[in-house]
């Protein structure tokens, strides 16, 4: 920002501000940022060099790897299901049938309006009691994880898709219909591909949040990553070694996901940025 103005007339700016001209502001910014970066780097270095117990890693790595694989499995399943369901939630939301759009709106209100932790409890503790007789699934934690993450994130994806559809110009539907396409065909061929691009950033953001939301599953004892931290920490009183492994595990999923979203956005470029 400072850079784009500094070329014009620093003197005039200095005169207007009294004491801070753009050039000074720029140096101040660079100086402060460097200081902060240096501080963080030193802190990380200190943790890695002094706090982390490398001898402990071989012992705890297997359980972290198991947790990592489990989290990946839950994420992939819940991601596919929540995006698919979310597309239908979004489509239902823009439906001309008021009962369909009403149900979709209520769904979004509920699942976006209550905490995920609450939803996890409803599925984990609530559902089995509704079963007539003994609940047949013994390891209910992982199914709970997939169900609650899917239901919760389908609401957010649904909102993103609704917004994406709303941003497609009405003329697109008219043009498709005037060529003889039916409503469903026009949605599929013309509106949804454009809505999808509009929604991509928001959906990607939500799916990254889904990855991090798996950490809540520790409260129902699903052996995910935070659960491993708690195990190791309570046995060794060493926080930093398991914390560093947890950070690496999450980032190794979320950073590539961010890249994937960018790639998908670039691919849906259609010859330029704007119409």
């Amino acid at each position: 920002m400072a850079d784009s103005y500094s070329g014009a007339s620093p003197e005039a700016n200095a005169a207007a501000d009294g004491f801070l001209d753009d050039q000074t502001l720029k140096y101040l910014g660079v100086g402060l940022s460097s200081l902060v970066a240096l501080g963080i780097a030193l802190l990380v270095l200190y943790i890695l060099a002094v706090q982390v117990d490398y001898a402990l890693i071989p012992t705890i790595l297997p359980q972290f790897i198991n947790a990592y694989v489990l989290v990946l499995g839950i994420v992939v399943t819940a991601s596919v299901l929540s995006v698919t369901a979310g597309i239908f939630v979004g489509l239902a939301r823009v439906s001309k049938t008021s009962i369909t759009s009403g149900i979709s709106a209520a769904y979004v209100q509920f699942f976006r309006g209550t905490p995920l932790l609450f939803q996890i409890f409803v599925v984990y503790f609530g559902i089995p009691t509704l079963w007539p007789g003994t609940f047949p699934i013994s390891n209910w934690g992982i199914p709970t994880a997939i169900i609650s993450l899917t239901l919760n994130h389908a609401a957010y994806v649904g909102e993103a898709v609704r917004g994406g559809i709303g941003a497609v110009h009405d003329g697109q539907m008219e043009a498709a219909r005037s060529l003889g396409m039916g409503y469903v065909q026009a949605m599929r061929e013309v509106v949804i591909p454009q809505a999808w691009r509009n929604a991509l950033a928001a959906v990607g953001n939500d799916q990254i949040i889904l990855v991090k939301d798996t950490s809540l599953l520790t409260v129902i004892a699903v052996p995910e990553l935070i659960q491993q931290f708690r195990d190791v920490n309570s046995a060794t009183f060493d926080p930093w070694t398991p914390l560093v492994l947890v950070a690496i595990a999450y980032l190794s999923i979320t950073i590539p996901m961010g890249r994937l979203v960018e790639y998908l956005e670039d691919r849906a470029d259609w010859g330029g940025d704007s119409q």
């Binding site: 043009a175 396409m181 259609w270 119409q275």
Partner: protein, 257 residues
């Protein structure tokens, strides 16, 4: 233009006009926007609809392929009702090409894909055949070299010519043009009108809403004047522009010429 613009022939126009508006009334809420409009467009005729803004001319055009519903009267294509709630509108619309003021090309499809989409998906024409036909049409509108460009890589005039090719790809019996040059830079208007002139010369039936009076006079077989939802005057261009029959016609011409 070449024979790429075929006209297809399950339809003969024996005894009736190709496109008929029969005592049409249209309301937007309380507003009465089309008042008892009757108009017959014959096979091969170029009917140009003119009139001040808000006179209902675009609405009338949009009713012709049921982008707007009418409340009274009937609209027929080749004797078959378009306005009947039970009409197979998707089928009828394939026979009615529409070109919009704002082009409405599909931005996620190349020019060629814009033209092949409906033939492939609606008609089920094989890809190769649809492509060949689309290339003929793009060549006709002078854009074969832009076949693989996306709409936002094209100028407004080029986009509108692709939009015309897209509509022609369904082999329509009649083409509707809704102020197709109004959103264009002045220097791009000519290339679009040129394509329309070629279509008219090839015998395409056309209903054209426009403010381009030069074009109306030169290409139109008939000029229809609308005002406040009514069809106030209808005649051949010569008599309409030289000696309008109505006072409203005279007023309109004195303002625009």
């Amino acid at each position: 233009m070449s024979d790429a613009i075929r006209s297809d022939d399950e339809g003969r126009t024996d005894g009736h006009a190709l496109l008929e508006f029969d005592h049409v009334d249209k309301y937007f809420g309380e507003t009465h926007v089309l008042k008892d409009v009757s108009l017959d467009i014959q096979n091969g005729e170029v009917c140009v609809v003119v009139g001040p803004s808000g006179s209902g001319k675009s609405t009338l055009l949009r009713c012709a392929n049921r982008l707007e519903e009418i409340q009274n009267g009937e609209i027929r294509l080749d004797g078959r009702s378009i306005s009947d709630p039970d009409a197979d509108i998707n089928r009828l619309r394939q026979r009615i090409g529409m070109v919009f003021q704002s082009f409405n090309l599909f931005p996620h499809k190349t020019a060629l894909e814009n033209v092949t989409l409906a033939p492939r998906k609606v008609r089920g024409i094989p890809e190769a055949e649809a492509r060949e036909r689309a290339e003929e049409l793009l060549a006709d509108v002078g854009l074969l070299d832009q076949a693989d460009s996306y709409p936002n890589q094209l100028s407004g005039g080029q986009q509108q010519r692709v939009a015309i090719a897209r509509a022609l790809a369904m082999d329509p019996k009649v083409m509707l043009f809704d102020e197709v040059t109004s959103a264009l830079d002045p220097e791009l208007v000519g290339e679009v009108l040129e394509v329309m002139r070629g279509l008219a010369a090839d015998g395409m039936t056309m209903m054209v809403v426009t403010h381009e009076m030069g074009f109306a006079r030169e290409v139109g077989d008939r000029i229809v004047l609308m005002d406040e939802g009514r069809l106030v005057e209808s005649g051949d261009p010569e008599s309409f522009f030289e000696h309008p029959e109505t006072e409203r016609g005279e007023q309109f011409l004195s303002k625009i010429l």
